[in-house]
């Protein structure tokens, strides 16, 4: 199977938008997780981001925080990830998302080699700044795992370019100031972050025209997808909205419906 980065790049070249779905591992039994993956895949999801829990996930909103605690409480550890990962990656291009200390503790090359053996082709680490990404790029090159970097609304112009040059696979564009998840009423008007977001997309395209640019954080509605596609994003990443359905009674069915709506919005004409 092609890597996540290759898949996203091919879709971008063909003018197709992409949807990545984030699901924290370990909060439900493996069969249920894989059922959700199958339903998402059938609805047209391009890739899966497998969340691996960390005790102190500072970039996460309440939904993913709770999922991480629950996963750890249920005893989900690296070994469990290693047995789940091949079953996911044989179905769909797969990334793993977790925090830097997990890699620091195992050693970057060893951790990436493990993930590669599990079939993951990208890794997303919210607390890995571009300045520290070098070891991930060199180890990732050997293991064929792309370290994906994140750009934010506050990132200065030069910095966006530095991040776009430093990332591999695709660029994760953070939609707004805030943690992951659908925000409450006091949060920022989505229109407010738009100029900055456009700036990031434009800046990144300037230095890496072929690099897929995916917007995440707080994306949950078809209108979000249309708006970001309209701004020139090559796709979106949806996490908390899917995660909160995973543990519900008819979760996989509702996940599939939600994914279909989002995928339809990807393909809708924009401009």
């Amino acid at each position: 199977m092609a890597s996540l980065g290759e898949t996203l790049t091919a879709r971008k070249r063909a003018g197709k938008g992409s949807l990545l779905a984030y699901l924290m591992a370990g909060t439900v039994p493996p069969e249920r997780y894989l059922e959700a993956v199958d339903r998402l895949r059938a609805s047209g999801v391009t890739g899966i981001e497998v969340g691996f829990p960390f005790s102190d996930p500072i970039a996460e909103g309440p939904v993913i925080q709770r999922a991480a605690s629950e996963s750890l409480r249920l005893g989900f550890r690296w070994e469990a990830l290693m047995s789940l990962l091949p079953q996911i990656s044989s179905r769909v291009p797969t990334a793993v998302m977790t925090y830097l200390n997990i890699f620091h503790h195992r050693g970057v090359p060893a951790a990436l080699e493990d993930l590669s053996r599990g079939g993951a082709t990208a890794v997303i680490i919210p607390d890995l700044p571009v300045e520290e990404a070098g070891p991930f790029r060199s180890a990732g090159k050997r293991s064929h795992v792309d370290p994906v970097l994140l750009a934010s609304p506050g990132s200065a112009h030069g910095r966006v370019e530095q991040i776009a040059r430093g990332t591999r696979g695709f660029l994760y564009v953070v939609s707004r100031y805030g943690t992951t998840g659908v925000v409450n009423a006091k949060a920022i008007d989505p229109a407010r972050s738009s100029p900055e977001l456009s700036g990031i997309l434009t800046g990144a395209r300037k230095v890496r025209p072929r690099l897929p640019l995916l917007v995440g954080f707080g994306v949950s509605q078809p209108e979000d997808v249309r708006r970001y596609r309209g701004m020139g994003a090559d796709g979106v990443i949806v996490g908390s909205a899917f995660q909160s359905l995973l543990t519900e009674a008819n979760g996989p069915g509702r996940l599939a419906d939600m994914a279909s709506d989002l995928v339809n919005a990807l393909e809708a004409p924009h401009g």
């Binding site: 005790s55 102190d56 970039a59 195992r106 571009v130 506050g154 953070v174 100031y177």
Partner: protein, 387 residues
């Protein structure tokens, strides 16, 4: 301002925080060189904050040990009752200079929360403090003080519901409100430039110790001891003494007898938490472990990165005191010197008592008494009076 202390420190944060940290570093560099900023800080420290604090020779305590003379650096007499004000006032002025309208902070024992609440009121900045549910229950008087000072106290129910989780929540708030808000971090921890800024503002402790030691006995102390949670009062005590002959000892929380406590330097391994590479208490896969100490201000799985470097370099010795030893020190100080200390510096006192016995009568120990004990009366009472 070093970004790293040896290999420790750094800036391991989500990209959203990078611009704010850059702005903060720039603002701090400018403020440091600005005589007007420094004058205002010194003036408020003196007229509002109660500095300088005395260096007190504890004769009855020293006699009880029968060895070295023990001096107490009386940070418990700073306005608000702890050394935390030194940093809160400095950073508050810095936040105002940067045009921020809102302060947020984390607090464990509540002393940093109270200091931030006082500074927020003084400077007219809206203030919100994150505090673990467990800590709110065991440090109730400080919750009440913050509220009376006009601060909103936000209860943190995630994770271990103590200091670590309060920092997580404060960081998440900052990520969401980074343009309007200054995160007034209370210890010498977190991403660069926080450890340097906090060390700078807290170094007033060590400068006064060095100056007063020379005035009182014509020399630096033979030994300086401070407690270490995140390590702000310790780094402030040690910094100005690093290039002298003074032996330096940091004391971590050992917790209950036989438990792991919160001793990241003594019992941990290097890892990345809260934006810094430093010694952490973590499991075999890098998950952060729950900690426990009778002193909420020391109850933290990490430690300031400069302490990690000072440990590796061997310049500072780090040791532990148990809950029981800290309580014993509390009662002894109360009865010999008429001072009710906070449980945090009782860990340093316990070590000073051990050391004093082994030292000569003409040698001198300075212990930083980082806070007063009013907040701990309930906890101490629950453990009963000594026999």
């Amino acid at each position: 301002m070093p970004e790293r202390y040896g290999k420790y420190g750094g800036t391991y944060v989500p990209e959203t925080l990078v611009p704010a940290l850059t702005e903060l570093e720039k603002g701090w560099r400018a403020a440091r060189r600005d005589p007007k900023f420094q004058r205002e800080l010194r003036s408020l420290e003196a007229t509002w904050g109660g500095r300088p604090t005395p260096l007190y020779r504890a004769d009855r305590l020293s006699a009880e040990m029968g060895g070295a003379e023990i001096y107490l650096k009386r940070e418990d007499l700073v306005h608000g009752g702890a050394h935390k004000l030194n940093n809160a006032l400095g950073q508050g002025l810095l936040a105002r200079r940067l045009g921020k309208q809102r302060l947020i902070a984390e607090t464990g024992a509540g002393q940093h929360g109270v200091a931030t609440a006082m500074v927020g009121a003084l400077l007219g900045l809206r203030t919100e403090v994150y505090m673990g549910k467990v800590d709110m229950e065991r440090q109730r008087p400080n919750v009440q003080r913050m509220r009376l000072l006009g601060t909103t106290v936000r209860e943190v129910t995630q994770g271990t519901q103590t200091l670590k989780d309060a920092i997580n929540e404060a960081l998440r708030d900052w990520i969401s409100n980074v343009e309007s808000t200054h995160y007034l971090l209370g210890s010498a921890v977190g991403p660069h430039p926080f450890p340097s800024i906090v060390a700078d503002f807290q170094s007033v402790i060590g400068r006064e110790i060095a100056r007063d030691s020379h005035r009182r006995f014509g020399d630096v102390p033979d030994l300086a001891i401070a407690c270490v949670g995140g390590g702000s009062n310790a780094i402030g005590t040690f910094h100005p003494l690093l290039r002298t002959r003074t032996r330096l000892v940091g004391v971590e929380a050992g917790g209950a007898e036989g438990a792991m406590g919160a001793a990241s330097l003594s019992r941990g391994t290097p890892g990345i938490l809260h934006g810094m590479l430093t010694y952490l208490l973590q499991d075999a896969e890098g998950q952060i472990l729950p900690t426990e100490s009778i002193a909420p201000g020391l109850d933290y799985a990490g430690v300031g990165p400069e302490h990690s470097a000072l440990k590796d370099a061997g310049r500072v010795e780090y040791t532990v005191a148990t809950d029981e030893e800290a309580l014993h020190a509390f009662h002894l100080l109360a009865r010999t010197e008429g001072i009710l200390p906070a449980l945090e510096p009782c860990h340093a006192l316990a070590e000073a008592m051990k050391q004093a016995r082994k030292m000569r009568k003409d040698e001198r120990i300075v212990v930083t008494l980082s806070g007063r004990g009013d907040k701990d009366l309930e906890v101490v009472a629950r453990h009963g009076q000594p026999g």
